[in-house]
Symmetry: C2
Subunit: 339 residues, 2 copies
DNA sequence: ACGCTGGGCTAAATCGATATAGCATTTTTT
DNA sequence: AAAAAATGCTATATCGATTTAGCCCAGCGT
């Protein structure tokens, strides 16, 4: 069951494979192939349902029409939804997607990059782990475009599409303050990457701007690798340790979920006894009782922008990095209604 | 920035590319290459970090070490989680995954198959849409292994890995009966595919076995393509139309979610006024108040089996189809506690 | 000394598409 | 009418790895 090759068409049309190639690549005019021959070839190609062998083409041209998508965790709702958008958008340009999850593990990320590299993807969409900056810079010298997402390296001059995480956290915290909460904590991931740093900074800035006293004891930073039980235990331990605490901002979607679980197992009333804001929207946040206020990312727009940036670079690489920061939306629900 | 090729190694070792190829493919013995030369080549290859160009290899051998994964919707928690398992498992065998979502649309599915075919994937993992049986059979003649998942075609003799959907629905329904619910409805997707048919059959069989009267008015079948609002409206309309209704079984994860939303907007008390069982576990089901009883699929095991079956076929195709049916687990929570 | 066997390796073809260089004609220019 | 230019197409090399056929040499038997 071999496919139709350019040779088959050439034979049927009584011309050389070269001519067929020219015609099918739209170079008929440029290469001065007559309209007659050109049309004949088109017709035969259509009739035989010719599809170029991407391997052969890729081998010769170095282009595989494939992009690599590296996310933190494809099972996480945010990344899965984004992956779908990316897939759909890429498809519009004729690109397919190879994906992988890093689990926020740099070694795994390096492994993925390695594989994608020798699979010759044309470009990369990467949710970087920390310390991946070296690899990224190295990769950039290979002239394959890279678009970072969700986070980036401030000292690396790369393309990226991210959320305005500072604003997201700032708005969330300001909202809690305005609602009347007095002592607002943040539970975040122990990471110095931009997305986490910005969220923490936004939280702190909002407190400052509203003259709410800030203290380091209000910040809990947890390692990414914990399992559910450990997350819950740590969160409970922290929440009960802060005296007078009346609101908490969870800086990632899964922390929010663990947070809800923890608070409930403590028997506290979400909203009244303790205000709560999560990150990224989720069916759980929408349908929980009480429903959960959250900072929502415009997933569709993010995905579109990512692919748009990548395609632009693929077609006409520029020296100026495209750095796009999209605004979050604060979705206000019951969990941040004091009384 | 070109990669290291077999020629570079050959040059450094002072042998021909052929020899290098033999050695690196483990055919040293068979092809009678001396241990000396063999070791030398190995060493050089390791030092240069040689990685074979998959395009060139694929072009020559017809094997791309890539598998195609077609799911219904990668943004759906169940499929996303499964995709991750599949990716991890496939990686162990050195395979990468190209994926796509059908949205349960046969035309989209055909398009995906087309693309994957001319991308020369070595094998397929497919969540088929209805009427895709023709394409699947056609594809099978191409000697590329195919494993169906989640659902299958009874009249097509293919490999598959699915859940025992009948048992899942049977157990869920029996559980509701034993809890004392008297009038139990089912909300499902209007689809004649096996997974949906089996769930409906399991529901009906359980009612019969427990001598609970069944009537067609207890069954609501909704089209897949509705949006959230329409789903909610339809569900509400249905639930209020059944007199004496006191429990409902939602046959897919998203229907369960819409179900919760609908019931709440009707102001009914889940558990007491209306028993509820969902399908597939979800953070929402676990953390909802009251928590939601559901039929849970063993995602890890399913993913592992799928890849295992596919790899077996890839290495030594057999005539007997491997058809695997895994047991569901009923997770009992508060939504099915009467009083 | 001649043929035969087996060990150790390599030349060349191949997969399918593309890019480069260039070969006949015909047409235009001067 | 000779030179130059344009037209319309093709032969061949190439991407990198694999595979087939087979070369050369040493050692063995007779």
């Amino acid at each position: 069951m071999k496919g139709i090759s350019i040779k088959d068409i050439a034979k049927q049309a009584g011309v050389s494979p070269t001519t067929v190639s020219f015609v099918l690549n739209g170079k008929a005019k440029e290469k001065r192939i007559s309209d007659q021959v050109s049309k004949k070839i088109q017709k035969i190609a259509a009739r035989l349902k010719y599809k170029p062998n991407q391997l052969a083409r890729g081998l010769r041209t170095g282009k595989t029409k494939t992009i690599g998508l590296i996310v933190e965790d494809i099972a996480n709702n945010f990344f899965a939804s984004l992956a779908k958008v990316v897939e759909d958008e890429a498809d519009k340009y004729g690109y397919k997607v190879l994906y992988g999850s890093t689990e926020d593990n740099t070694e795994k990320a390096k492994g993925l990059l390695e594989v994608l590299k020798y699979r010759q993807v044309d470009g990369y969409i990467i949710t970087p782990t920390k310390n991946l900056d070296k690899e990224i810079e190295l990769l950039e010298t290979a002239a394959k475009p890279i678009v970072l997402m969700d986070r980036y390296f401030p000292h690396v001059n790369s393309h990226y599409v991210v959320l305005d995480n500072f604003k997201g956290a700032y708005d969330a915290t300001s909202h809690l303050v305005k609602q009347g909460y007095k002592k607002i904590a943040i539970v975040t991931i122990a990471s110095d990457q931009t997305q986490m740093k910005d969220r923490l900074d936004g939280y702190i800035a909002a407190l400052k701007d509203h003259q709410v006293p800030f203290s380091k004891t209000l910040v809990k930073r947890l390692p990414f690798e914990l399992d559910r039980e450990k997350f819950n235990n740590e969160i409970k331990k922290f929440l009960t340790s802060v005296k007078g605490l009346d609101a908490v901002f969870f800086a990632t979607n899964y922390l929010g979920i663990y947070g809800i679980e923890s608070i409930r197992s403590l028997g506290w009333q979400i909203g009244k006894e303790i205000g709560l804001v999560g990150f990224d929207d989720h069916d759980l946040f929408r349908l929980h009782s009480p429903s959960i206020t959250c900072v929502s990312q415009p997933i569709g727009e993010i995905g579109k922008k990512i692919v748009e940036v990548l395609m632009k670079e693929l077609n006409q690489p520029s020296d100026v990095p495209q750095q796009i920061v999209l605004p979050p939306e604060l979705i206000i629900r019951e969990s941040s209604k004091l009384a």
